[in-house]
Symmetry: C2
C-alpha cells in the first residue's frame, strides 16, 4: 500500500468551487452592490409583478449544464432581485409582513459561508442560538429553567408547543403508543384565533374539531365565563380539555386576550396555557399603553412568536418557549446511535436542539436575531414597534377625519381596518369597492393594503410592522385611498 507520506499529497480543487477566486470575488461584490443599492432605495421598490417573459426567464428546464457563477450573479441581479414582494417598501401594509434589516444582510453572508447545521454538536452557531433563546427567556419573563427553540415561524412553534401540551395531557407513554385509543382532547381559543392553531391541531391528529372558539366580549378579549362553561361542558361529556390558547395580537385586528385572567383560569383548571404571540408578543417591547396588552405573557406554559414580523428580522425565523423543559424533551428528545452524545469533540455539547423539535438538520437562523440585537439593541427595536403603533393610531385618526372613510374596528395595536365604501351601497358593491381600491393601489405601486372580513363585509386592512414607514407614508396612503375611492365612485 502506498501511504500519502511517500509523496506530497495532491489536493485537487473541486470543480464546484470557483476556479478563479478573484473573479468570483468581483462577481460577489458587484452583486452585493446591486443589493445594497436596492435596499438603500427601498422607497423606489414597490411590488413588481412578473409578466410572461419575466416568468419564462426563470425557467430551469432540465438544468443539465451550468452557466457559471458570473452568469448566475448577473441573472440574480436582473431576473430575480427586481421582482420582490415589495414588503421592504415603506408603504407595504399587507397581511403581516416583516421588512428585513441591514444587519440581516450582514448575518446572512456569514451564515451562508459557515453553513452550520444547528441540529446539535459543539460549535459556534449552537452557542449563538443559546444566547438568543436565553435572551428571549429574559425578555418574556420566563424562568431560567424554561427551554426554547428557533423554528421557521409561529406555525412550527405552535406544533412544538401543542406536542408538549399533548404529552403532558396524555402522559409520556403516548409518544410511544399513539393517541388513537385515548380520550378526545379539546382546546380553547378566542374566535378569530390564528389559523396556525387549527393547522397544528389537525397535524397532531386531534382534528380541527378539537378547537372550541370562544366568543369575545365587547373588549375584544375571550369571554372568561364562556370559556369556563365550554371547559365544564366538555368535561361533562367525557372529553379532556388540555390547552387554552391565549392570543397576543390577533392577526386581523391586533386584539389581545386577558392573559393574566387566562393564566389564573389555567392554573385553577390545570390546563396548559399556550400564547400565540406571532407578532403581538413584541408589544412587550413597546411603550405604554401597548406594552400593557401583553401583561401576563410571562405566565404561559408555552409561547410562540416570530422574529420575521415585528422584530423586522429576515424570513424565516420564529421561536417557541416552553416553561417545563422536562415535558419539552419528553415530547421530542431522541438520539439514535449515529447521533449518540460524545464527551468531547464535535459530537459533544448540550443541549442539542434536535431534541426540542422535529428537525434534525437545522439552519443558522439564530444569527440574524443575534445580529439585530447586537446592531440595534432591544430599546431601538422597541421604539420602532412603538412607532408602528403610533402610526396605526394616526391612520385611524385620519380615517375618522376623512369623509367617506370609516373605521371597521377601533385601532388597538398596529392594525387599522376601515371601509371606503358608501354605507348605502349594497353589501357586495361595498366589498367590491374596497377590494378594487386595494388592487388598484397595489398595481400602481402606491400602497399595499390587504383585505379582510369584519362584520360580514370586506374591509381594507393595514398591519404596520414596517420599520421604514413614517407619518408621511400613512398620510400618502390614506390620500391615495381617497383618490381611488373618488375615481371608482365616479366610474360606478
Amino acid at each position: 500500500m502506498t501511504t500519502p507520506q511517500d509523496s506530497p499529497p495532491d489536493f485537487t480543487p473541486s470543480p464546484l468551487d470557483p476556479a478563479d477566486w478573484p473573479a468570483f470575488r468581483a462577481e460577489a461584490h458587484r452583486l452585493l452592490d446591486a443589493c445594497i443599492d436596492h435596499l438603500a432605495t427601498a422607497r423606489a421598490h414597490p411590488w413588481r409583478p412578473l409578466g410572461e417573459a419575466d416568468r419564462a426567464a426563470l425557467a430551469l428546464g432540465d438544468a443539465d449544464a451550468g452557466l457559471g457563477t458570473a452568469a448566475l450573479a448577473d441573472e440574480l441581479a436582473r431576473k430575480v432581485l427586481p421582482f420582490a414582494t415589495g414588503n421592504i417598501h415603506p408603504r407595504f401594509f399587507g397581511w403581516v409582513h416583516g421588512t428585513g434589516l441591514a444587519s440581516g444582510l450582514l448575518s446572512e453572508i456569514v451564515a451562508a459561508t459557515m453553513n452550520s447545521n444547528c441540529g446539535g454538536r459543539d460549535h459556534g452557531a449552537v452557542y449563538v442560538e443559546r444566547e438568543v433563546i436565553d435572551w428571549c427567556r429574559r425578555c418574556f419573563g420566563f424562568p431560567e429553567s424554561a427551554s426554547g427553540l428557533l423554528v421557521s415561524g409561529t406555525s412550527q412553534a405552535t406544533v412544538v408547543a401543542f406536542t408538549a401540551a399533548r404529552t403532558r395531557a396524555l402522559g409520556k407513554a403516548s409518544r410511544q403508543d399513539g393517541i388513537q385509543g385515548l380520550p378526545k382532547l379539546t382546546a380553547y381559543a378566542v374566535k378569530g384565533v390564528h389559523n396556525a392553531t387549527v393547522k397544528a391541531l389537525e397535524l397532531l391528529g386531534l382534528g380541527a374539531s378539537a378547537l372550541r372558539t370562544i366568543a369575545a366580549g365587547a373588549d375584544g378579549r375571550m369571554d372568561m365565563a364562556r370559556l369556563a362553561e365550554a371547559v365544564a361542558a366538555d368535561r361533562a361529556a367525557g372529553r379532556q380539555p388540555f390547552c387554552v390558547v391565549g392570543t397576543a395580537g390577533s392577526v386581523d385586528l391586533g386584539l389581545f386576550d386577558d392573559l393574566d385572567a387566562l393564566a389564573d383560569f389555567c392554573a385553577r383548571e390545570q390546563l396548559w396555557l399556550h400564547v400565540d404571540g406571532a407578532f403581538g408578543a413584541w408589544a412587550r417591547l413597546a411603550d405604554a399603553p401597548w406594552r400593557d396588552l401583553a401583561r401576563g405573557i410571562e405566565r404561559a406554559d408555552s409561547l410562540a412568536f416570530d422574529f420575521h414580523k415585528w422584530m423586522y428580522v429576515q424570513y424565516d425565523c420564529g421561536a417557541v418557549l416552553i416553561r417545563d423543559e422536562d415535558i419539552h424533551r419528553a415530547a421530542f428528545a431522541a438520539r439514535p446511535a449515529y447521533l449518540a452524545k460524545q464527551d468531547q469533540g464535535i459530537g459533544g455539547g448540550e443541549p442539542w436542539y434536535c431534541d426540542y423539535g422535529t428537525d434534525l438538520s437545522r439552519g443558522f437562523r439564530a444569527l440574524k436575531v443575534w445580529s439585530a440585537l447586537r446592531a440595534y439593541g432591544r430599546d431601538a427595536l422597541g421604539r420602532a414597534i412603538t412607532r408602528n403603533c403610533e402610526l396605526a393610531a394616526r391612520m385611524g385618526r385620519l380615517v375618522e377625519a376623512t369623509p367617506g372613510l370609516r373605521l371597521a374596528q377601533p385601532v388597538r395595536l398596529n392594525v387599522c381596518c376601515f371601509s371606503a365604501a358608501p354605507e348605502d351601497w349594497d353589501g357586495a358593491a361595498q366589498d367590491a369597492l374596497n377590494t378594487g381600491i386595494t388592487h388598484a393601489l397595489q398595481l400602481a405601486g402606491e400602497v399595499v393594503f390587504s383585505t379582510t372580513r369584519i362584520g360580514g363585509r370586506t374591509v381594507i386592512r393595514a398591519a404596520i410592522t414596517n420599520h421604514r414607514t413614517c407619518a408621511a407614508d400613512v398620510d400618502c396612503a390614506i390620500a391615495a385611498v381617497v383618490r381611488r375611492r373618488e375615481a371608482a365612485i365616479a366610474a360606478a
Copy 2:
C-alpha cells in the same frame, strides 16, 4: 383635515436603516471579503472549538443598546465566523453534513435583500420555487400532476408526506374529526430506518409503536417476505396498515431498499409508498452502478429529500414530492378570510405554498437550489456525487489494504464504516479505541469522522457528501487513523 398634497411629504428615514449608506456599504464589502477569504481557504478551516472566552464573547445579556452595524460586522468576522463546524473542510466526513456552495453565498445575499415570504401571493420568489419543484418532479420521474414543497429538511418533508398518507388512509374527514376514535395505523420500514420516520409518526399521534421495523436480507434490503407477513399480521389483528417507508440511502450504511419491489407490493396491497431519500435519492444523478440503487423511486407516492446534504446547498433546505396533489391539499389547504385568494394584485397567484404544509410564512429557500442548478447544472452536481461514491470506495479499499483496519460493512454508496481496533481486544476497549481516534482527529483538526454502532460495536464512520474532498484527502485521513491507532495502542 390636512392632506399630504398641501405640502411636500416629509419621508423620514428609519433609525433601523443605515444612517450612512456609504459606510454600511464599506462594512458589508469588508465582511464579504472576510467570508470569501474563509471560503477560498476552506482547507485551512477545520472545526474550531470554543473556549470559555470565545463563548463569553457571544453573550447578549439584555442587549438593551445596539452597537451599530459597523461593530456588528467586525464581531461577525472575529467572534462568529472562525468558530464554524468545519463541514466546509474537505476532510469533514462526520454524520451527513453538506458543505455549501459559492452559488449559495450569492443567492443568500439576494434572498436577504428581497426578504420574500414564500407562503403564497404573486411575486418572483414563488415562481422560482415553482421552477425548483418542477425540476424535482422531472428529475425524480414524478408526473406533472404531482405536487411538492420546499421545507427545512427531510424531517419536515416526512411529516408532510405522512400527513397526506394518513389523510388517504383515514379519509378527508379525519382532518376535521381527529384520529382518536379511528383504527390504529401501522407503518413499515427496514431496520435502521432514519429516526425522522419515528419522530413523524410520534408527532402525528400514531406513536412510535406504529412502526414495524422489518429485518433486511443479506443484501441489506428490506426482506419482502417478512414485510408481507407483518402487514398480514397487523390486518388480522384489526390494525390498519397505511404506509411502507422505503429507504434510499440509510444514514448509517447508505443502503437502499428494492424500491421497485416495494412499489409492486404497495400497489397490490393498496398501501402508500413513501421513500426517505434524504441524501440517497441523489444517487439518481450519479453514474452507474450507484444510480441503479435508486431505481423505482419514481413510483413512490411521496418522496422526501434534502438539498443541504448531497446537493451541497446551504442549510436548511429539503423537499417533499407527493404524487396525488388532491390528497396533499386535502391534508393542508386552508385559507382564512385574511388570506383569501384575490383575482389580481399581490394576493393572487396559485398555488400558494401555505396550502401544502404547516408553515404560513416561508423563507426563500428555493433561491439557493435554483442558483446551484443555474451555476453548476445537474450534470456537474451529478459528477460530484459520483466522485463522492468513488472516494468512499477508495476509502474502503484503503481500509482493506491497511493492516489493523477492517471494514464493518461493504461500501455501497458514499458511507464507509470501519474499525481500527484489534479484534482480540474486549468489546468495550474496541469501542473506546475507535471513539478515541475520532476524538483525537477532530480535536487536532485533521479529519472529522463520526461513529456509529454496527453489530453491537462502535465503529468509525465516514459519510462523504463533500464536494471538496479529493483522493488525497481520503489517503491522508486513513493515514491519520493509522498514526492515531499506533499511538493509542502503544499507550494502552
